[in-house]
Symmetry: C2
Subunit: 243 residues, 2 copies
């Protein structure tokens, strides 16, 4: 269920507070084991993780890339600063972000923020997720899991889908090794990612444009409780057959 | 919502019939624009798209690969026969299937089927989805969209997620180009994939093991009606920056 009526978020806003108020208004009670999914943009805004492009001095490299991609050199500069490694560079920059994610534009986004500003991914998205979880725990004494999502492109398939960039209160993976199928045989699929499946589920109800709702509550999801970290979702390059 | 009580599927079974009966039993009415998501395995079984491994003669190549990967050479042979191109080969075969999907093991699965058998992806998953859609249309005079899912690994991230391999009655992509954000600016994310987001959502409630429920009904999802085809989800190699 999408939470309606979440206002435009400013630096310092307590997202847990907004979530509670919005849920109350639509008579939705937050219960033990619910999963709260938040779009990355509002988390970044609440943390002030926003850059005023007028204060960015693009490097020579950023200017060259910007000319080639026909993009704003200041935005490219922010992307480079958020990146540890450039994985591909053609009409888009695919990089490994400082958090370890491989995605386009290092998660830097000029949409859903004031003109002349861009949002970046939260500095530590797991910690951001944990803060929302703790805020709800403090106020309601209820344990929820929290997922912070970003909408990202992927290899081989068209269209962006929601993925988890921050996680708290759940194991983002579910290990089926040793489990048996209907016929008592080992399963082909041995590790699933409930965090990414739920991130995609939430993205399907969030929408991207101006009518978007950046917070979704998932009830009855099956996941393993743990502190959790989206870092567990990153495939080490040496194990990545697709790389 | 997962449909409970779908029995083990045999060749020739009318999946639409089973879906209707299961929905009735749990007092779930199927309505216009609902999305019915089916796990690939039951579709393949209903179409007899199952191979008796005892009748497979592995080629020399299949035997060499099988020795290297410590797998059943007959299963490798089926994987090769389902593949048009080998994209990677290390501890797993990543190939482009005859349908055009890039995935591990060409979608060949030894789980959730009788011992000595494997299931393959449906020969034409869009047509399979259309058959289920038509069957429900005939019986209830209701237009639903149908997605056939497979649970697949992906580049850069650990854990398998649900993706759409067959689609009927919906555009698997949603084009946001020209739409505006909260601030009137162009969106960063221009094309989303509701079909894959919903495939992942359904996978989160299906489960993989013996207690799995292979059919999920999604209500209130937002998508563009069209005939649709999962082929639209395939990124042409020359446009695939990740490749």
């Amino acid at each position: 269920m999408a939470l309606k009526g979440i206002p435009k978020i400013k630096k310092g806003d307590d997202l847990g507070e907004f979530i509670l108020r919005a849920a109350e208004k639509q008579n939705l009670s937050l219960e033990e084991n619910d999963v709260i999914v938040l779009a990355q943009t509002i988390v970044s805004k609440s943390e002030g993780n926003v850059v005023d492009l007028r204060e960015v001095k693009p490097s020579k490299l950023a200017e060259r890339i910007a000319a080639r991609l026909d993009k704003d050199p200041r935005e490219i500069e922010v992307i480079l600063q958020q990146s540890d490694e450039i994985v591909r560079l053609r009409h888009v920059i695919i990089s490994r972000t400082k958090h370890g994610f491989i995605c386009a534009n290092a998660g830097v986004d000029h949409s859903n923020v004031d003109p002349e500003y861009v949002t970046m991914l939260p500095d530590d998205p797991d910690a951001s997720a944990a803060r929302v979880r703790d805020s709800i725990k403090r106020k309601l004494n209820v344990n929820v899991a929290v997922i912070i999502t970003d909408t990202q492109g992927r290899a081989f398939r068209r269209g962006c889908v929601g993925v988890a960039v921050g996680v708290a209160g759940m194991n983002p993976l579910h290990d089926l090794r040793g489990k048996r199928d209907l016929y008592g045989k080992e399963l082909r699929v041995t590790i699933t990612s409930p965090a990414d499946d739920l991130a995609a589920a939430a993205t399907a109800v969030m929408g991207e444009a101006s009518e978007g709702t950046p917070v979704v509550v998932v009830k009855g999801a099956s996941y393993d409780r743990s502190q959790g970290s989206a870092r567990e979702l990153m495939r080490p390059p040496e194990q990545d057959l697709f790389r």
